[in-house]
Symmetry: C2
Subunit: 605 residues, 2 copies
């Protein structure tokens, strides 16, 4: 195992120096907190990640859940972790005091999610799924439902899930067919099948509570006919837990993310699966999507967690492994050097560093917007920050997921043949991260969301606000001479983005809807590169200012800030420049992916 | 399992229509062959791939070799395959008649390697490794050694390996330490350890013959002290096989490529491991590298095989799976459409198609150069083709390996959640292909080879010849109106390549060796994109001419040629344009990967 899966110093830098998390404590909602309480929470999470998650990373991968006697049997370490989670109040720490929460900022909540998932993604996912289910219940369910189910979810005694996908319905949720029949007795009878449900069933908990989408009989077809139900594995009848006729039919054998049981469910085989309606009929998808931002940010955070762990494993290896010599070394008998001294290895490490630290930055930036959207006194500020969150969620979901594949692949490459072997954890991170461009809305869905919806919402107001945010960073860079070339490069990139956006919106205006959306994924990639470049400039400003101002700086701080400046330079030169390839494609007026007849793929004889 | 792992029509197109394999039969060496014999061979290979390899793809992955009683126990299907391989003369079909071969062109040999490895990479690898060992023995070993070992290797009764890597020596082969002590009795005593040896040990064969690098005691340090030995597991003493004191100490547990035992060897624990010198002392690395082109092309071919199989699995799924509707469809109740109709899915299929068919094309192009280098009557022609092979080997090794990761990842994405599950083969291809940027020289090594050596060899003659070859294709495109924009785009790209190459060579001339080589991998990527774009233009010319000329064309031919034209358009617009991002980086005069102090990565507190 590698020595570390994350960098405490980087978390401190982002929270305190870049995003000034302390400023949040000036708002009434967060007033009981301080840098010290944040620090304590993160230290505790670090310790939990180190002691309860990380040691089981490979073990849970090699011993995935077994499906026996109709139940998924998971690694016993899961229960230990969930006990701590429940006792520590980690499930609902962001909720208000009145709901049993600690009014913790999202920024801090995402950091501990990052630590749990980075230490062991499968382990961290159990907590997150329960969080998601508890959140949606807390926001939309009746007091009666909340009184029955919330406490057990928040104590992590019961596992929560989000049950959306069906055998024939994945991305196209409006078509789902699981049914709910009104009984007039306070519940509905649910029938149907669900697949790919994370933590669908587990013997780590005495009960599993599914937040499930189904269609009430007689409801309109399409999206508007979908309602949300609480469907527990064991329902509460008085004080008793009664089996609720929902069976786990099996669990998937997967590429990665193996420690968590992803399963299939059948509801109502004996006509006795009771579902309890959440909120109003027909609004299920809306409720789910209310929570979707949170879930999607969590995917991004988890992906960054995995890629970060892979990065540190490869950094450790590259620092210790000696191989070859500098190309300028003429003596073939000179001692071999640590491979980190080779430019190409340093390139792969800088690539990873710039992706994982830039990715974490944008996640925390959006978390800060979420916090400000919640507590800003002025309604226009709350709207502003909420719009920025909505705009950036596709980026925060996708950049870590997609760049994370490349980043973990580079981690493997740094280790050479050892990277391909299970003795080192990098191959697992490469497998574990591959789920992220798929679940909670594929990359394709994210692209459609950004280009098809977010760019134009409120007459493009979110995009304007985004440009304003970047402008502020550009202003802050003025006077820092070394950063001017980077600021200029970012301005040039923004101009390209404006040009491409205008071109695409013209297609939409001309009614060329397919052409408009055909390359949405490439647009999202271009948008993401610019967003992360902005986050790198922000970090470089902070680092350069620190280097300029501080005298008697700690050696480790000096090294840290220098590392930030180099990673920023790397990102601008090697990653941001990719937009010039993307821009050529996005400005093209030839649309082979629209024009091509699907039959042209089919010629084998 | 998917219905197909390759496309017979595409093989025919490339061999016959694009590369005119029949023209080879005009040379004396190949005169006994004809299109018919080539066809028969490929049909047989197709059947072997289908019957002997493909059915065991997932089974061999799920039941990898076990290490028991000091031996690797492999899947019994391996023996069945090797029996056919041996009986059919597939190991040495390219050798001359006098050596027991069939004087088969490399073009055909690579096609059958492509089929075996595409159907089941681990299975195909057994054959290739024996091929490599037999080739090197046939070229450099004494008649005595050949008479003892070659027949058994060529009949696939004995397994061959290439034993280079040691625990402390991977990319830096000049530093290897395994030793050989002259005994004066016709053999050397070998001592040392080897790791990551493919097919290091197997119970599928009665013997394993290692082509092993070691250092004769007293030999100079560095590259010049390395010699090549035949080191069998069981040595021949008269008619008896005697254990040769070489033990397999274990096998690796790996990300993919699981069906093949990759193992560690210890030689000479009882001071009785005999190695038989091949050729002259001190020339071992040279001999190995003589075969390296072959091995590296095989890595490329294997990668394309895997990515091709993943492509067809995702194509099959995308053609059958219905989900969602066109963005122009306003009726949410309209029937769902096959996902292949969505532009973003078509984009991911076109990406795969353009990578795998473009990748196979460049592999066969280089195979053709190899064949012409062998049989061209004029020495200057032989030199020309040999130079083109040398220049393009880094491309043929790396483009399939690196783009293949992206391509197999896109295959997973086309299947959504199913792509992440072991029920479908795509996740395995994604794992299996990850070895390819590592073995037989990492991508970093390939970049150094192209930029540091191949570009400048013979005063840049290879590069000039390469440009001439592309010019010829550009000339052939004249008069085909629809292809003019693509030809123009390729010319522009070539100009960029010339500009970047000039810039980098100036760095070298200024003695800035580290800066010159720092981005060799990016240079290789740019070079590869242009090379594959050229191969796509070549295919598009052939397809467009066929469409223009033929009347009464078969429907399937029409579909096939149209598919080629669209894949070409896709590649130029989506892939070739990436060079404009690369070019910006490569022309930069800021070198963060050289300038950054490795310490700057190390700041955690």
């Amino acid at each position: 195992m590698a020595e570390r899966f994350a960098n405490r110093r980087d978390i401190k830098f982002l929270l305190e120096e870049v995003f000034d998390v302390e400023a949040l404590t000036k708002y009434e909602y967060y007033q009981d907190h301080s840098l010290e309480t944040f620090d304590m929470i993160i230290d505790t999470a670090w310790k939990m990640g180190t002691d309860l998650c990380y040691p089981f990373l490979q073990e849970m991968d090699k011993n995935p859940p077994r499906y026996e006697d109709g139940q998924a049997k998971v690694h016993p370490a899961v229960r230990t972790f969930l006990d701590e989670i429940g006792q520590g109040g980690w499930i609902n720490a962001d909720w208000e005091y009145a709901s049993g929460g600690q009014q913790l900022p999202n920024m801090i909540k995402f950091v501990y999610g990052f630590l749990f998932m980075g230490a062991n993604y499968s382990m961290g996912a159990y907590q997150l799924l329960t969080c998601g289910a508890a959140n949606i219940m807390n926001t939309f369910a009746s007091e009666d439902l909340k009184s029955k189910y919330l406490a057990k979810l928040c104590s992590a005694e019961w596992q929560g899930t989000m049950a959306l996908t069906e055998p024939d319905v994945g991305s196209s949720l409006g078509d789902l067919t699981s049914s709910a029949e009104e009984t007039g007795q306070g519940y509905y009878l649910i029938k149907g099948k669900k697949i790919f449900i994370s933590a669908a069933d587990t013997d780590a908990c005495e009960n599993t509570v599914h937040m499930m989408l189904a269609r009430i009989k007689g409801a309109p077809k399409g999206v508007k006919g979908i309602s949300l139900f609480v469907v527990p594995k064991y329902r509460l009848e008085g004080d008793r837990l009664v089996y609720n006729d929902i069976s786990c039919d099996g669990i998937e054998h997967k590429l990665g993310y193996k420690g968590s049981p992803i399963g299939q469910l059948t509801m109502g085989e004996n006509n006795d699966c009771r579902g309890y309606l959440v909120g109003e009929p027909g609004r299920g998808l809306g409720y789910m999507f209310h929570m979707m931002n949170e879930e999607r940010i969590n995917v991004g955070i988890g992906a960054i967690g995995k890629a970060t762990a892979a990065y540190y494993a490869s950094l450790e290896y590259a620092s210790q492994r000696c191989q070859g010599r500098k190309p300028t070394e003429k003596d073939p008998l000179a001692p071999m050097i640590p491979i980190i001294e080779h430019a190409d290895i340093k390139r792969m490490l800088l690539m990873q560093k710039s992706i994982v630290e830039g990715g974490l930055a944008i996640c925390l930036q959006v978390a800060k917007y979420q916090d400000l959207a919640k507590v800003s006194p002025l309604p226009e500020d709350r709207e502003k920050y909420a719009l920025l969150v909505d705009l950036l969620v596709p980026v925060v979901k996708t950049f870590p997921s997609e760049a994370g594949i490349i980043s973990t692949s580079a981690a493997i490459q740094c280790l050479g043949g050892y990277g391909f072997c299970q003795d080192f954890p990098v191959e697992q991170h490469f497998r574990d991260i591959r789920i992220d461009p798929i679940h909670e809305g594929t990359t394709g869905i994210q692209g459609q969301d950004l280009l098809g919806k977010k760019i134009s919402m409120k007459n493009g107001k979110a995009l304007d606000l985004f440009f304003e945010e970047i402008s502020r960073t550009l202003q802050n860079s003025q006077g820092i001479r070394d950063l001017q070339p980077l600021a200029d490069q970012l301005i040039e990139a923004l101009n390209e983005l404006v040009r491409v956006t205008k071109h695409l919106k013209e297609l939409a205006a001309q009614g060329k809807t397919e052409e408009f959306l055909a390359d949405a994924v490439l647009y999202l990639e271009m948008f993401s590169l610019i967003t992360v470049a902005w986050q790198w400039l922000l970090q470089a400003i902070t680092a350069q200012k620190a280097l300029n101002q501080q005298t008697g700086m700690l050696e480790s701080d000096y090294l840290f800030y220098q590392g930030k400046l180099f990673a920023c330079r790397y990102f601008f030169s090697y990653e941001l420049n990719k937009i010039y390839g993307l821009e050529r494609r996005l400005m093209s007026v030839d649309y082979p992916t629209v024009a091509m007849d699907a039959k042209f793929f089919q010629a084998f004889a």
